[in-house]
């Protein structure tokens, strides 16, 4: 074969876009994704701003393009463990963890029903539980169940295996090591929600009914822990008064010094979720300044003008539990009136920022990062590129644009080192 494939690390919207664009141009592309499904963070969103359409629509199109394209292959539950330069390209080693379920799976759910063990559902940020044999979420791609080796105690006599009529469960699956020669590498490792428990004044994990914005996405999503009904975690009450705390851990030297770009929009979107379900609800967004770049400004106007929506200038810097209730109380200085105010809510949503996933789990390649773990593109070795939120906090549209450009660069690299067919 004349060409070595392009390796894409990270199967989020950015990585998938880069891989699909490259494959549709006739190049070989391999996606390595550490989750058991493709789609990344976008799969966890309920709706996309600004149009508020379901992100799974967009993802579905991409899944179809992947299925239809023989030049694109992917590995889930996989991570790159070494990268070494070789012949103008790179030799890479990929570790694939065992899924314990093979391609015969038809996602009939029998194994999960039979399985006696449970695990915390990380897809829903621990707000629900799944069996040790589970499907990450209803529209997960690939549509294959997973058995979580750490939660399966295998003392049930392999009930799942018994239940599976398709011979899809293989508990003897072993970790696999793959060695590949690739022509170019795209790092599209994306982001994680900033661990906002580190801001000890914001109450996350200590004060009841304080959640982060990604949890809000899951609470509102039809395939989420509450089947799409927004209910507060402590007692399942319908929240009729919700606070949105902007810049929770962003624009803050003690946490993430940069603006996370999307969290003002995310909160405005969340206000629209709340208002859609509870038209009489009150929502207050506490901000330093509202940042809705470019054409997103219109979305801001729309939400701002909704009944029952208040935007208050003043950063929330203290949250505590109102005595004898499950209600959180936020403390701010209302900058415009110059008064320190405490206000009680049913639920508080912290607009926590995006932190580069490289900060906690760097890919083994020599590259410089900003102190916050964002890849500095100019420091990348030749033939290695970074795309999407691995580089800077951006929205989906920008991640995809970026990925398209990066696909072109990778193709260029590939052409210069052998040529596509």
């Amino acid at each position: 074969m004349a060409q070595d494939p392009i390796l894409v690390i990270g199967g989020g919207i950015s990585g998938l876009t880069a891989a699909i664009e490259a494959a549709e141009c006739g190049c070989e592309a391999v996606v390595v994704e550490k989750n058991a499904y493709l789609g990344g963070r976008v799969a966890q969103l309920n709706k996309y701003f600004p149009k508020l359409c379901p992100p799974l629509c967009g993802l579905e199109i991409n899944y179809r393009r992947i299925k239809e394209n023989p030049r694109l292959t992917f590995h889930t539950q996989a991570e790159v463990t070494s990268i070494t330069a070789s012949d103008g390209g790179y030799n890479v080693t990929i570790q694939v963890a065992p899924r314990f379920v093979n391609d015969k799976c038809v996602a009939c759910d029998a194994c999960a029903q039979a399985c006696p063990s449970e695990r915390s559902d990380d897809f829903n940020f621990g707000m629900s539980r799944t069996k040790a044999a589970y499907l990450p979420f209803d529209q997960a791609f690939p549509q294959k169940y997973v058995i979580d080796g750490a939660s399966c105690k295998a003392d049930c006599g392999r009930k799942c295996q018994e239940a599976c009529k398709y011979g899809a469960i293989d508990m003897d699956m072993k970790p696999e090591t793959l060695n590949l020669k690739v022509s170019a590498i795209v790092m599209a490792t994306g982001w994680n929600p900033y661990d906002i428990t580190r801001a000890d004044n914001l109450g996350m994990g200590k004060v009841k009914n304080v959640i982060n914005n990604m949890m809000m996405e899951r609470l509102a999503a039809a395939n989420g822990p509450t089947s799409g009904k927004i209910l507060r975690p402590s007692d399942g009450k319908e929240p009729k008064k919700v606070a949105f705390v902007q810049c929770a851990g962003s624009r803050d030297e003690n946490h993430l010094p940069y603006c996370s770009y999307i969290c003002c929009l995310a909160s405005l979107k969340h206000i629209s979720y709340v208002k859609e379900q509870y038209p009489e609800a009150q929502a207050t967004m506490f901000y330093i300044d509202v940042r809705t770049p470019g054409r997103y400004e219109k979305f801001y106007w729309k939400v701002r003008d909704m009944e029952g929506v208040t935007l208050t200038k003043g950063k929330v810097a203290k949250i505590y539990n109102a005595q004898g209730t499950d209600d959180p109380v936020v403390v701010i200085e209302d900058v415009l009136s110059g008064k320190k105010v405490e206000e009680q809510f049913d639920m508080v949503v912290l607009a926590s920022g995006m932190e580069a996933s490289q900060r906690t789990r760097p890919v083994p390649v020599s590259v410089s990062y900003t102190p916050e773990g964002m890849i500095i593109p100019s420091s990348l070795p030749p033939g290695i590129y970074a795309s999407g939120t691995a580089k800077s906090p951006v929205d989906v549209a920008k991640s995809m644009q970026d990925a398209t450009g990066i696909a072109l660069k990778s193709i260029g690299k590939l052409l210069s080192s052998g040529g596509a067919n």
Binding site: N201, C247, R251, D252, E253, N254, H255, I288, G314, K315, V316, A317, K318, V331, I332, E333, V335, G338, K339, K340, V341
Partner: protein
């Protein structure tokens, strides 16, 4: 808002704040985290966000007549949580320094105390005065201080010198405090000014200061209130000691001032001894508390330096003087008891520190207690808590 407000920014002032330890001032982006985490501020028009804005805009007048700058106890909770590293606690500290300079007369002294380059001159004054009074000599015989015709031969010179320094300081402080009060009160509506109950406000403030109630609300620099309490009470103790010692040198049957002036009082030897024992006990206990307290102040500053900053020249000058005062005082006493002649120069150095503390009190951080107390009284009297 109606009408037009014309702001008159004083850029020189902004730069001075920056030079006085408020380098980080311009980083503030007005998020108001600081006002929220501050446990000391009143709820209405809280500080320190508004002070940060006033300082950035160079609104010197507003800051100088603002009681809030002194209600702040620089516990640095705001600095620890400020997302921009704007260090509001430190900036307020710098503004306080400027407020002392603004109100304490004569102004050139304030300038000198505030700038390291004048440090030598400031120290030279007590050194020269003491040397002129003969403090350079080492008299023969067992080591003893303050004998009228022994070492520091002339306590008739030394005592008036220190009394004069203390009086100067008191007058200067009194005038400064009065000016500050007037500045604060200038904007009060007449009906509110008429309602002021000064007596009650003073009483409440004193009880609050004695208990350090406000100070104890600080979180980031928790240990500071204990350290400050120690120093504070040791100062009170040393003040009482000084008064008692003074009473003694006035009354002593043969060598006292009254005897010197030809009006000896009839007082028993035992009364004088009793007095001496009492002030020695209070004095020594206070000295130990002072040293312990100031040591805690220093260690706290270093311990919290990451979150709260180490402090400015102004802070450290004061800390050093207090520490120097305590240590040389104790050392001189120990050397004297051990009959080691090195006690004399040590005592002279000690007196230099005493002079520094007293004479420059209106301009050094020592003045903080007077201005802060004034601001606290004003705040109480005007319902600002």
């Amino acid at each position: 808002m109606s009408g037009t407000t014309i702001l008159k920014p004083d850029l020189g002032f902004v730069n001075e704040v920056i030079r006085s330890g408020g380098e980080s001032l311009k980083k503030c982006y007005q998020c108001a985290t600081c006002s929220v985490v501050c446990n000391v501020t009143p709820e209405d028009k809280p500080f320190p966000r508004k002070e940060m804005l006033q300082a950035q805009w160079g609104l010197k007048d507003q800051l100088m007549k603002n009681p809030d700058i002194w209600l702040c106890h620089q516990c640095s909770d705001c600095t620890a949580y400020c997302p921009r590293g704007a260090k509001p606690g430190e900036v307020l500290g710098a503004i306080r320094k400027m407020s002392i300079k603004e109100f304490s007369a004569p102004g050139f002294m304030a300038k000198m105390v505030g700038q390291p380059k004048f440090l030598l001159v400031l120290f030279a004054i007590p050194v020269l005065l003491l040397l002129a009074s003969g403090a350079g000599q080492t008299p023969a015989g067992p080591v003893a201080f303050g004998k009228p015709h022994g070492f520091l031969f002339s306590m008739y010179f030394i005592d008036p010198l220190f009394t004069a320094a203390a009086l100067f300081a008191l007058v200067s402080l009194g005038l400064g405090v009065r000016k500050y009060w007037k500045a604060m009160a200038a904007d009060l509506p007449a009906d509110q000014a008429a309602k002021i109950n000064l007596g009650a406000a003073v009483k409440e403030t004193v009880s609050e200061i004695l208990a350090h109630r406000r100070f104890q609300k600080c979180e980031t620099t928790k240990g500071r209130s204990t350290a400050h309490l120690l120093v504070f009470y040791s100062f009170i103790g040393l003040f009482i000691t000084t008064i008692l010692a003074f009473v003694k040198v006035i009354l002593e049957p043969n060598t006292g001032y009254l005897a010197f002036l030809g009006h000896p009082v009839q007082i028993g030897e035992s009364a004088i001894t009793g007095l001496t024992v009492i002030f020695k006990i209070i004095g020594n206990a206070s000295a130990l508390a002072l040293i312990a307290g100031i040591f805690l102040v220093m260690t706290n500053r270093f311990k919290n330096s990451k979150k709260a900053g180490v402090g400015s020249y102004y802070d450290w000058l004061f800390i050093t003087i207090v520490a120097g005062l305590g240590i040389t005082g104790l050392l001189a006493e120990l050397l004297r008891i051990s009959n080691i002649p090195a006690a004399y120069p040590t005592y002279v150095i000690h007196l230099c520190f005493v002079f520094f503390l007293f004479a420059y009190a209106p301009f050094s951080k020592m003045a903080h207690m007077f201005y802060r107390a004034t601001a606290m009284v004003f705040a109480r009297a005007t319902g600002r808590g």
